[in-house]
């Protein structure tokens, strides 16, 4: 499928209530165009649940289901298994969860579903915090970032830990497909979603999803920040097709300072903190190249 082949028909329609500049509806809208009408969506508690429709309205034009926050892997299991019992092999089950619902509270259900190799496409839209509840830190929040639970205080400024690499943990589950994707690379994004769609078994996509509200950034900055995340090396674009890894883009290692300064969540960071994060990027890339590289063909 090419960009120009994407159908006009919207399966995630306008009228949703996402904040201005939010990347998540762009992700959903395009993912749904690629996956098509024969898709069942499970959505845990997260921003998407709320902005995707308030009863009696809903922006989804496909079967849509919510149960709770920490159970995307389990609910999607119930859906895919029930479909098989009903002789429906023609549908895709998409579990679409936030970084909190994936990296933290939902991790057990995610790991269980991956270990059982359930026939699910799991998409983690990563806005690097619990946005729905008002910007609290998650395991996927980067070092130094301000959130409402990691405030820029007089003694401690922002998050003290580094971002958890969920995609690499999923790679260790040896599932058919694991990839990271990013809206600033639309052809790569489309290719990965389509590839995941056409596979069976457990597929995991981690998609970078800027949140101007929570990141204290301009509402037109989502795509720019997406690109800078890759160019700085903060975000590694890679995929693993049945365990064979490919790093899709080599960073330019532009200084992270340029990326940080566009976002109020990093405004308080000291030079030392920025140095710590810059050093982390270097080490992360070395590790990615070594670990992921070892699994390439």
């Amino acid at each position: 499928m090419n960009m120009k082949d994407l159908p006009d028909k919207e399966l995630f329609t306008s009228g949703h209530t996402a904040c201005p500049g939010c990347a998540a509806p762009i992700v959903v809208r395009n993912v749904m165009k690629i996956l098509g009408e024969k898709t069942l969506v499970y959505n845990p508690a997260c921003c998407l649940l709320v902005f995707g429709g308030t009863y009696p309205w809903v922006a989804w034009e496909v079967p849509y289901h919510h149960v709770a926050f920490e159970n995307t892997g389990a609910c999607a299991t119930g859906m895919t298994r029930a479909l098989k019992r009903m002789d429906r092999d023609d549908c895709t089950v998409l579990g679409m969860a936030g970084d909190g619902g994936t990296a933290d509270i939902g991790f057990q259900a995610l790991s269980g579903a991956a270990e059982r190799n359930e026939d699910i496409l799991y998409l983690m839209y990563d806005n690097e915090a619990y946005m729905n509840t008002g910007i609290q830190r998650s395991g996927a929040t980067p070092f130094g970032a301000w959130t409402t639970t990691t405030p820029a205080g007089k003694v401690i400024g922002g998050k003290e830990q580094f971002k958890k690499d969920v995609a690499q943990i999923m790679l260790a589950h040896a599932v058919p497909y694991v990839a990271t994707a990013n809206l600033a690379y639309p052809a790569d994004f489309l290719r990965k979603v389509e590839k995941a769609k056409n596979m069976k078994g457990f597929r995991f996509l981690q998609v970078y999803s800027p949140c101007p509200t929570g990141w204290r950034a301009d509402t037109d900055s989502a795509i720019k920040l997406s690109k800078m995340a890759v160019e700085t090396g903060l975000w590694t674009q890679w995929e693993a097709d049945h365990g064979v890894v490919k790093i899709n883009a080599k960073p330019k290692f532009t200084p992270i300072r340029d990326y940080l300064k566009l976002q109020g969540r990093f405004a308080h960071m000291t030079d030392e903190q920025i140095d710590v994060l810059q050093e982390w990027v270097k080490k992360k890339w070395e590790r990615d190249e070594k670990w992921l590289g070892a699994l390439s063909e």
């Binding site: 308030t54 009863y55 709770a68 298994r81 019992r85």
Partner: protein, 392 residues
Amino acid sequence: MVKRVVTGNYAAAHGAKISRAEFVAAYPITPQTFIVEHISEFVNDGEMDCDFVRMESEHSAMSAMVSAAATGVRTFTATASQGLALMHEILFIGAAIRLPLVMPVVNRTVAAPIGIWAEYNDTMPQRDTGWMQVYVEDNQEVLDMVLQAYRIAENRDVLLPMMVNLDAFILSHTVEPVDLYGYEEADKFLPKYEPHVHLLPEDPMAIGTFTPPEYIQELRYQTDAAMEASKKVIGEVNKEFADLFGRDYGGLIEEYRTDDAEVVLVTLGTVTSTARKVVDDLREEGKAVGLVKLRFFRPYPTDELRAIADRVKAVGIYDRSIAFNNGGPSFIEAKSALYGYTIPIVNFLAGIGGRDVFYSDVKLMFETLLEAASKGEAEKDVIWMSTRGVDA
């Protein structure tokens, strides 16, 4: 009739099989484990045509149940104690989105202290989740109620999930002769599953969306009305089952020798069997005692209890768990149902943590009730039976 000597857990697993549950998601916990082990054997031996998913937790098991039922299949799981506590969050959701889930719960004490024996502090706190709850007395009733549970839960006037509660070890691990009927008989009673909702692209539904206050109050009202409506359905299903299988459980409650009784004891679960014997013996002595087996805790048989209270001079309520500082949960419910009555209502707490409830304990309950009836009042309204540190 094929009578076989089986445990309560086997009866529950057999019930899932002949009910043609299509999807089972479960996680093992003592004393429920044999249920999932038997189902594993049925499936691996090709005797049961279902998709059995060995989940990674009870929270996930209940989540998968809800979503499989929403997609459109008949579901089954079983749990106990800590497992039920872990499911708690999702129990509300299964009921509120009106899914006919069926789940035996092997009643076991909830820690601390950690123990594995019978107590109702696992199921009683689930009262307000919207699940129907039936407490059974023997292994035959385990099987029969699994089958009936589907009929009641799937009834379009009800559409609520049901727990079938059986006492840890006393039933779960104890063998009894059970009429272990098969698919043929079950099929006559329980038709093929027809889902009332589904998640299919031809007819997309949104199940479980974010909902503002403008609608939630009506939704709660509808669930409340469905719980009320289930009473009639429970009676009808009981009758139909009795006509077909020859076993009449009485519906919401079973009355035993209550006709001219002056006092009645309201029991739940296996203590009922002991109480039957005590009633028989006291009747021999000319004492006008009767027994009410409280089968359903939700829906609660308010009218039935009031009709009995109209005729008796004292009512005793047996509880196997405690709602701290206010007696047991069954006692609290009974007092609420019998509001306005001036007869003594006495609570007996016994068997907690799985301690045996002896014939002598139950006899003492009746003697206490007879004394309260003659005096027109009870000395104490909450009595901890044979409990160290409590003045007798």
